[in-house]
Amino acid sequence: MAKITVDGTEYETQEGRTILQALDELGILMNGVDIPHYCWHPKLSIDGSCRLCQVEIEGVPKLQIACNTPIKDGMEIRTQTAPVKEAREGVMELLLVNHPLDCPICDQAGECKLQDYAFEYGVEHSRSREPRRAGKKNVDFGPTITFDQERCILCRRCVRFCREVPGTGEIGVFGRGDHSALETFPGLELDNPYSMNVADICPVGALTTKDFRFKIRVWFLEDVPGICTGCSKGCNVWLGTANNKVYRYVPRRNDAVNETWVCDDGRMSYRHIGSADRLDRAMVRGELGVLEVTSVDDAVAAASERLRALVDAKGPGVVGAVASGHGTNEDLEAFVRLLDGLGVENRGLATVQGESDELLVQAEKAANGEGARKLGFGDAAGVLDRLNTGGLEALVVMGHDLLDAQHLGGIEGLERLDTLIVLDSHHSALERVAHVVLPARHAAEKAGHFTNHEGIVQAVAPAVEPAGEAVPEAEAFDRLAAALGVAGEDAA
């Protein structure tokens, strides 16, 4: 341990850290101790080039950069003295010498560190009257990212990110001096599963995602903490919401889960929230043999009648249940209560397995498979065997991962069922054979918990209003249990 003093306050920190690393670890960097910085990033190697994080250290004649200066026991650091402020102003003014100052048409405006720091630590504009360096505009860096060279401050975070995190290293700095610029090699564009993170770590509007570009001004967005449900990693994200709509995910730092990153597939999964294929009304198959829109109450009643009749006639052994890894722990617990109440033992879990990598992406493409397993849902194979051998007459299904080739591969076999009850957030082919369909909420629309692949339990809270009449699965199950008369005392 080492004791350091920052602006008169003493802190205890681990040895072997640089000043910024130590303050970051203590959770006080830019959160009590203001040392603005551009090139330094907690999850990337130290560059030491932007020179903004200079601080005064007792006994050292020159200012030192906090990002690369190792702490020493007894070190006294001052971050708000006149020389420090002057150095910051100097860096800020110099960064603005060639900056186009096109904030009115820049997508970064509102979350731009150049804008913020210029206001906070610098000068609002540079005294330079000289022509600014002309740079390439709207450079297509790859499928996901657009580059605006004029805005780039050459902090090289993106360069280091691509080399150090996905290990793909597509971006380089070509040339030198004030004529150096980011580029990709001809024919080798920025294209990796984590490419969009470069837009997050770009402190200015140089790298922006094509997806979010010009969609909305960021100051109209409310950032709500949430979890990406693309896989069992459970990456922490901010949901950028406005007008009851989610406009984007950006990673939210959680060193125990996703550090400061999220994969591109996960990031883009926000589009499922308000997508056109949302299932937002309850439906019951009517006498004409087609699904008819109805109220959730009527659908619950219909489901209850069908299940009750079947269980009364043939016992719970003909009923099967397929849980989904997309439900919260609360949803799954309610499912368990319902099944326990009815005495249904044919239970399983259907999730889709896909590609994985060393970094974040997990094979299980659902946020809460682990939560379901912890609640006793084993692989759905047993339930499906029973289905295929004609042992099931009713099935209650969460979601539609069941339709994936890894499970049923389609609706074949389901059409024989006497009763198919589906709870889902999105339309699927299940509706062609379902008897009762209940609209379920997306994770962004409800409160609850997910258990990630390592067993870390993470909470979500509603970020937007539910689609149509979608209800949390927990509520649907509890209402169904109540209608069936199997609700336990503690059920809602």
């Binding site: 130290i46 020159k62 960064l95 010498v97 001096g177």
Partner: protein
């Protein structure tokens, strides 16, 4: 290729003799005797002590004690350690290393061999600037000759000492003269200086302990070993012993190289050795130590060429490149050329340097065009202040100093441009 220096001393006395460039000729003049003495009769620590005692200062610009630098090298541990010879001479006004490579290749190699013994280094990398094709070829030949004669490689002088030399060619970037920029470049990367810590003595070339010395620094070493520290201190000043090769350029009758004792007065170099300005014109200003060093006006040339005295005049010895400008010279034009150079050569890492060098250049070019305004001079000084002492390496300082120097002594040149809205020096050198 090159002419012999106009004045010579121990470093260059045989440079007129073609035979001296060959191993045979060099040995005939007592060459490699010093290395033999060091390796056969002296311990590494003795050699370091001797060089420390001699007071030899690095001749690459910073003027740091060579013996001290060697003593920073770790002597324990199994990992290899390296010497690097900085032959990336690129400081405008400086061209002494070129002749030391072309005409004194073996002298420098002998110095390297002694330094290698003193620091127990495994290999020396000689980083020759890419444009020096002929000097590099000469050096390659010297290295081959030394290997063939057993002066490099295994078991040198039968003492079990092993040392290798690799001649490495740069590719055209001034910043590779900065010691860690050079190391990066040697490793096959962009020559962008490294942030410190770590320092080269712990983590240098290829991650190993490394000492970097200039061509001329190494070249002095055999003479010190041969003749002793006291002999060396007989040249130059008390604090700056030995000779130095001064390169005189610009508006003088006799430009060229002059090997003179450190501390030789600048006016003696300009007026006696280089014979002053042609056609009886007067001197306006002199840059004493390569383009990074602040200029001195005509009235301040009575200064010994040594750091301790030049510092009092707010400039430094640098590489000893003496650039003379006559009375017709427009100092704003000089500033244009100087700032353009630093703008072009900045490696581009640090904000202050990347943006500051370009800004300085744009301002002085505008003043030269006649579009300057009041406040520009203060702005220039302010930008210089923002660049100084705040970056990874000293390049930004080196870019700011000459501008500060020009404004310190020739402010009226700048003011006159602003007042007249044009360059008032029609007779000045062409831009």
């Amino acid at each position: 290729m090159l002419t012999v220096p106009h004045t010579t001393n121990y470093l260059t006395e045989h440079f007129g003799d073609d035979a001296f460039t060959t191993l045979e000729g060099y040995r005939a003049r007592g060459g490699y005797e010093a290395a033999k003495k060091a390796i056969s009769e002296m311990s590494p620590a003795d050699v370091i002590e001797l060089v420390k005692d001699s007071g030899l200062q690095g001749r690459g610009g910073a003027g740091f004690s060579a013996g001290m630098k060697w003593s920073f090298m770790p002597t324990d541990g199994d990992q290899p350690s390296y010497l690097v010879c900085n032959a990336d001479e690129s400081e405008p006004g400086s061209y002494k290393d070129r002749i030391l490579l072309e005409r004194g290749g073996h002298q420098m190699l002998e110095g390297i061999l002694i330094a290698a013994w003193a620091t127990q280094a495994d290999t020396t990398f000689i980083y020759v600037r890419g444009e020096y094709a002929f000097p590099a070829d000469q050096l390659d030949r010297c290295v081959r000759e030394a290997y063939d004669a057993g002066l490099l490689g295994e078991n040198i002088f039968g003492k079990g000492f092993k040392h290798d030399v690799v001649v490495h060619r740069g590719a055209g970037a001034y910043i590779c003269g900065e010691e860690t920029g050079l190391l990066e470049s040697l490793e096959g990367k962009k020559g962008q200086p490294r942030k410190k810590p770590p320092f080269p003595a712990q983590f240098g070339a290829f991650g190993m302990p490394t000492t970097v010395n200039n061509v001329e620094t190494f070249s002095h070493v055999p003479h010190i070993v041969k003749n002793g520290a006291d002999w060396f201190k007989g040249f130059g000043t008390e604090k700056s012993p030995g000779t130095m090769i001064f390169g005189v350029s610009g508006h003088v009758v006799r430009p060229g190289l002059y090997e003179l004792p450190m501390g030789t007065p600048l006016d003696e170099i300009v007026f006696e050795h280089a014979q002053g300005v042609p056609e009886g014109r007067k001197v306006k200003g002199v840059i004493p130590g390569g383009m990074s060093m602040p200029i001195l006006p005509a009235g301040m040339l009575d200064v010994p060429m040594a750091n301790e005295s030049l510092r009092e005049r707010k400039t430094m010895l640098g590489t000893g490149g003496v650039m003379v400008m006559d009375e017709r010279t427009c100092m704003v034009r000089a500033a244009c050329v100087i700032t353009y150079f630093f703008r072009d050569e900045s490696c581009g890492q640090c904000t202050q340097c990347r943006e500051g060098t370009g800004w300085l250049n744009k301002i002085v070019e505008r003043i030269e065009r006649g579009a300057g305004s009041e406040g520009d001079i203060e702005l220039l000084l302010d930008v210089c202040g923002k660049m100084e002492a705040k970056t990874i390496c000293a390049f930004a300082d080196a870019a700011a100093w000459p501008v500060q120097g020009l404004l310190r002594h020739f402010r009226e040149d700048f003011e006159e441009h602003v007042r007249q809205k044009k360059c008032p020096f029609p007779e000045s050198f062409e831009l």
